[in-house]
Amino acid sequence: MDFVQLIVSGLANGCVYGLIALGFVLIYKATEAVNFAQGDFMMIGAFVCLGLTNADFMGLNFWLAVPLAMVIMAALGYLFDWGVLRHMFGQSQVSIVILTIALGFILRFAAGTIWSHEPVSLETPFAGQDLRFGGVVLGIDEIAIIVVTVVLTGSLFVFFSKTKLGVAMQAASQNQLAAYYMGIPVKRIQSLVWALSGAVAAVAGILFASKGAIDPSSGLLGIKAFAAAAIGGFGSLPGALVGGLIIGLVEPLSARFAPDGFAGIARIAPYAILLIVLIFRPGGIFSQTQKKKV
């Protein structure tokens, strides 16, 4: 029965990876830039919520702190694009990548200064509670992660396919020039995508921190999420989630079934899978055969 628990906890981890990967892909599709600070956005999102709700800090109600943290992270994403990236227009991708890496360092430093470098847990109403089905014991936190991810993914799907702004975001990412010709304010749309990705990072961070402790270097998890995004094809939102789930499942399963003395295999398994996917399907599992116009 612990096999079911293993799967559920792997899926829960995978959801967090998937949500961070979703943030990568959102920004990549909209702006063709890779935000290497996405993992740190996640970490900051967790700390912001923690700062709002933990008794040691502001002690706000958890259900108020969550949307507030999402709004704050959305604002941070918007402002970074509006205040910094927009002025880099026409610069090479490399300089933008370096800028996002630098942003990651700044965020880690800021988090350490404000909330210290010690691991802290997010105080949630459901911490430590279990659900029992027959012989299976599942943590509510893990179930919550899976449910929230499903709901968030569903809402994003509806947003992108049914709302004018969502369709415009897709349009701007498929053909920026045409969007510009049609009077779609492409720059503002891109800032809004950064905002969306900031809000998603906040959710990922809150979920991550509700399950275990968080510290300023937790953002390095972003590397695994990056692998997840690449496995999924880097241009596909469902692909990012699936990539995250694959990595989430492979980690505990490979640790469990590794031969004696090879337990460390779990740590390289995500990258081994990434390698295999890239060799056999260079575009990722969900690659779309579409050339992007500038």
Partner: protein, 259 residues
């Protein structure tokens, strides 16, 4: 025809870095007109349209839309003011459906009922688009994509539409069909048109007035019929050589009387 100028361009100059692509262009498009701008490859036709629609900023000169200066404005403001640019090479949103592409044309509008009515209007001119509503636009044929680009442009409810080489890559038959629709949109929907073309024969056929562009300058401007009859236009843009001229003239007249 003493209609007011919908579009008035004065001494416009545009650069790509150090390269001057537009060298002091002045022109006028009046209410209800269908004006064409002819010119060979690289004459600066696309650049002229981009500068007018706000996709590029001019170095010098003015662009007036219904009397208001708009040069240097962002396209979203210009589209909302009633000018839409249907770009060269179609430029649709390949992974969105046909219906979503059409809807994006109305991005700057919020009058729901009127938008729905205009959708019906667009589908009545391009019935094939209605049939393909749920199909990804990237899977349409070239001609259908051109129709989609024009239909999407119409959704902005433009007073004036800038069309960049709608005949590009289309068969003569399909070109004929699309130009016929352009002419009907002009007369039935009262959309003023500025049409850039290399295909001088079809363009002069539908247009009322024409400009000829060379190396970033306007070198000729006249009634379309007069341009079509001029020796230079015939030789350089209609591909009729001088000794064939007599016959060419006749052929032109003949074609005219068919209509």
């Amino acid at each position: 025809m003493s209609a007011t100028a919908v579009l008035r361009v004065d001494n416009l100059e545009s650069y790509y870095g150090p390269i001057q692509a537009i060298r002091g262009v002045s022109l006028e498009v009046r209410e209800g007109q269908l004006v064409t701008v002819l010119g060979a490859n690289g004459a600066g036709k696309t650049t002229l349209l981009k500068t007018i629609s706000g996709v590029m900023d001019p170095e010098k000169g003015t662009v007036k839309l219904e009397g208001t200066e708009i040069q240097g404005n962002e396209p979203d403001r210009i589209v909302a003011r009633g000018m839409v640019h249907v770009p060269e090479g179609r430029e649709i949103f390949p992974l969105l459906t046909v219906a979503e592409n059409i809807a994006m044309g109305a991005y700057t509008r919020s009058d729901k009922a009127a938008i729905n009515a205009d959708e019906e209007m667009v589908y009545s001119y391009f019935p094939i688009l209605k049939e393909r509503m749920t199909q990804a636009a990237g899977t349409l044929s070239g001609g259908q994509q051109q129709m989609l680009a024009i239909g999407r442009g119409l959704m902005a409810k433009p007073h004036i539409m800038l069309l960049d080489e709608p005949s590009l890559g289309l068969s003569p038959l399909l070109t004929e069909e699309i130009f016929d629709i352009i002419r009907r949109l002009n007369t039935e929907q009262h959309v003023t048109m500025m049409l850039v073309e290399q295909n001088a024969a079809v363009a002069l056929d539908v247009a009322t007035y024409g400009y000829v562009m060379e190396l970033g300058r306007i070198v000729m401007a006249d009634e379309a019929a007069t341009l079509a009859a001029s020796k230079d236009v015939q030789e350089f843009y209609l591909g009729i050589s001088q000794d064939e001229n007599q016959r060419g003239q006749r052929r032109w007249k003949q074609r005219k009387t068919w209509r």
